[in-house]
Symmetry: C2
Subunit: 128 residues, 2 copies
DNA sequence: CTGGATCCCGACAGATACTG
DNA sequence: CAGTATCTGTCGGGATCCAG
């Protein structure tokens, strides 16, 4: 987390602190397993709640709603309710959300590309 | 998380399942706040344990060691002990670790670039 | 179907103390 | 300084039930 350094006490000092703590807060929100998997699952498209639950393997009802609310609150995901019966709710990444997704993609890609490296590292690590 | 689809029952089927579950496991390990912050803190350089504790703001002694062990086990971080007194232990990203770091950089960058967007989204979300 | 609310247990994370 | 161990409380997160 790169932080701009400024002599203490200047007028803009407080603002910078605020911005940094906000950045940390957002990072903490976003940098968790379920949030990233949801972002990855949404991809370019639109998914319903139940589709997401199926798509994001292993996520519980609670964690899904919780993270979706959080992502919506932070403006990463847009939630559109179709007032039909039964209700139909769709989730889509916003533009910033899609931008973040490319980073998540990179992590996913990295994971698959280094399976062997990790496995070998684990074996070596196991020898003790 | 893109998964290659193969007709069930083929010889390589089991291998693919194993690879996927391994990928998920690695992802779960890596996609957490402290691990990502540690990777980001290490950057291109080398840091001692105590330097990392200072650098990664808010991390506890325990979480730091725990995550460092995990990153070492997965071959993302290299740990070198200098048998001096007092002991001096240094941590560096491995090559795969540095590759992953670029993705983490992207997330950090994203965070700082969208502070306003997030703040506005939160305000709008608050109106309920 | 979506999702809020509640209960409850296990895992996680902090604090502290102890070794090399 | 670096790291392990233990103890303890908190809370993440699953299961379940209820409502719109």
């Amino acid at each position: 987390m790169v932080t701009k350094r400024v002599p203490a006490g200047l007028p803009e000092d407080a603002d910078l602190r605020r911005a940094d703590s906000l950045a940390r807060e957002i990072f903490s929100d976003v940098a968790n397993k379920w949030a990233l998997l949801i972002i990855e699952a949404l991809g370019e498209g639109t998914l319903r709640f139940s589709e997401l639950r199926d798509e994001v393997e292993g996520v519980s009802h609670k964690m899904l709603t919780q993270n979706l609310r959080m992502l919506e609150r932070n403006g990463l995901v847009e939630r559109t309710v179709h007032p039909t019966v039964p209700p139909r709710v769709e989730y889509t990444l916003t533009e910033p959300g899609r931008e973040l997704r490319t980073a998540v993609d990179a992590i996913c890609g990295w994971t698959h590309e280094h399976l062997d490296h990790v496995e070998r590292a684990r074996e070596r690590f196991g020898e003790r």
